[in-house]
Symmetry: C2
Subunit: 321 residues, 2 copies
């Protein structure tokens, strides 16, 4: 059996896993990221947690043929620098130079959302398909595209930034500096903002109770739970959110016609209250759907494991650089 080593560098944890040929994680380890530390320390911990998981899996470090790492942002193939990872304060950061101090193995670095999409396609919600699109609905909106079982991230490998495609012409300002990005309307952050705005004009919504009368406690779950319990303000918010998301997805369907669409991140836990109307609305809001159909929208299955599996298997499934 051949084994693969993958790391998911997140804002909260550095998670590493050993993955077998069947795309199954055989061992997993993690340590807190403590983002903000000097890069040397973080990179040292990426190596430490990698060694630790190899030991746990009883696989010699020397037997791995690559080191796959998923992280925010993406490496510019012209400069080999990591473009910008806000959480870490890294801008045009020489990540390869830091990592190479620890190993002679070939190193694959890929955007974390791309890794998660690859992981779900190899072993999760899209394992029966070769062409999938995934959005992760969290603080931001991450996006990944898999074509013929390979990560697709544009000609210069810096594309597929689905969260920063435009959804609302001349819309609200996104954290990226652009107006009307999908992320500004479909992230959990956006839903929370929309809820707070709605609650300004309403004192009777069940959401007030669920957040202990403190707007600081509003999260996606509060909105979804209130909606499930019949609160009209929350139902309207969820309905509007679903319409935004369906319109964003419709553009991707009209371009890519994928076999399946996967949603991950906290909001995807909403379950059928989200997926059933979302599938219906995507059908209504997509060009020629009644003639040529649309792909199904399904929930991600692997959680954080998707990113580890995808990172580990970059050696086999990354786009050629």
């Amino acid at each position: 059996m051949k084994y693969y080593l993958g790391v998911d560098l997140g804002g909260t944890n550095i998670a590493a896993g050993v993955v077998d040929e069947n795309h199954t994680i055989v061992a997993k380890e993690s340590i807190p990221t403590n983002a903000g530390r000097p890069a040397e320390e973080i990179v040292q911990d990426i190596f430490t947690v990698s060694k630790r998981v190899a030991q746990k899996a009883n696989v010699a470090m020397e037997s791995f043929t690559s080191w796959g790492i998923g992280m925010p942002s993406y490496v510019n193939p012209k400069t080999h620098l990591l473009v910008h990872a806000n959480n870490f304060g890294w801008i045009n950061f020489p990540i390869f130079d830091f990592l190479k101090k620890h190993t002679d193995m070939p190193i694959y670095i890929e955007n974390d959302a791309n890794c998660a999409t690859l992981g779900e396609t190899l072993a999760g919600a899209a394992r029966n398909y070769n062409n999938a699109i995934m959005l992760t609905l969290g603080t931001g909106v991450g996006g990944g595209i898999i074509l013929s079982k390979r990560i697709f991230s544009g000609y210069d490998l810096m594309g597929a930034e689905l969260g920063h495609t435009k959804l609302v012409y001349n819309g609200i300002l996104c954290t990226c500096g652009q107006k009307g990005c999908l992320e500004s309307y479909c992230s959990a952050t956006a839903l929370i903002r929309q809820a707070k705005e709605a609650l300004k004009d309403d004192s009777s919504s069940l959401m007030w109770e669920l957040c202990d009368k403190d707007l600081k406690n509003i999260d996606g779950k509060v909105v979804v739970d209130a909606s499930k319990r019949g609160d009209n303000v929350a139902k309207k918010l969820v309905d509007q959110y679903i319409d935004y998301l369906s319109c964003g997805l419709s553009t991707f369907v009209t371009i890519f016609r994928p076999e399946v669409i996967i949603l991950g991140g906290g909001l995807a836990d909403a379950g059928e209250v989200l997926f059933e109307p979302l599938n219906k609305r995507l059908y209504e809001n997509t060009f020629a759907a009644s003639v040529i159909g649309i792909p199904k929208i399904v929930k991600a299955q692997l959680g954080n494991d998707a990113g580890i599996i995808g990172a580990a298997l970059l050696e086999k499934y990354a786009e050629k650089r």
Copy 2:
């Protein structure tokens, strides 16, 4: 020298060409389409004009290894039927059955905008690149995507309908039945609609003079010419049009990061009054442009020949079905 046979079936003309290995048209013929005639007659004329151009090029029909045809809409690879070509009144139309009555050659059918994009990439504005996106700004907006010198039209080959991606959330109704499509804001038809609306409230615009005081005579050229001559109403229209188009293109750049963007169709003839501000606005309106740059937007070079060249070379450059 090997020769290729291509046909561009348009609403006005059926144009056929013989193309050599260097992607040059060596002979060209066309006959009026007379759309609305029985399909047998149109298909008969596709064959007639093909034979005629072969004769003109002095190439025996038997020496061609395929027959490539570009036409509106696209063939559903599951049913082998042409999905819908409004101009011709064809819906789920068995185009292959009709064509096969005339020849035993392998037949390639592809969406006409995809053929034009392939033609421009092989021999025109993008001939130095392998990854391009093209929009044709005419009555509607046609779109094509070339990745690694191959047509990309989505997993089921019915995608890349760039004109029907969403530009304005909850925007005006498109001819396709959806709301806010790029086509509804960026086609020549859309610019004409916008001009007519602007002229409702203005009697002093130079556009009135250029259209002989008859709104029926308004076309893209009237708006562009008035803008070039300093008419403020027209300048505002062109400025707004450029902003719409730049936002639509920004989504494609953020996903595909192509090497170049090509604009074809009547509006692309506007020249630098369009391209200079459009390139600038695309830079301003695209995610991370200041960090990773944007591709240049250039004018198509081949006119109607692009579709013929692309169709002829489908044998070599079509996606595998």
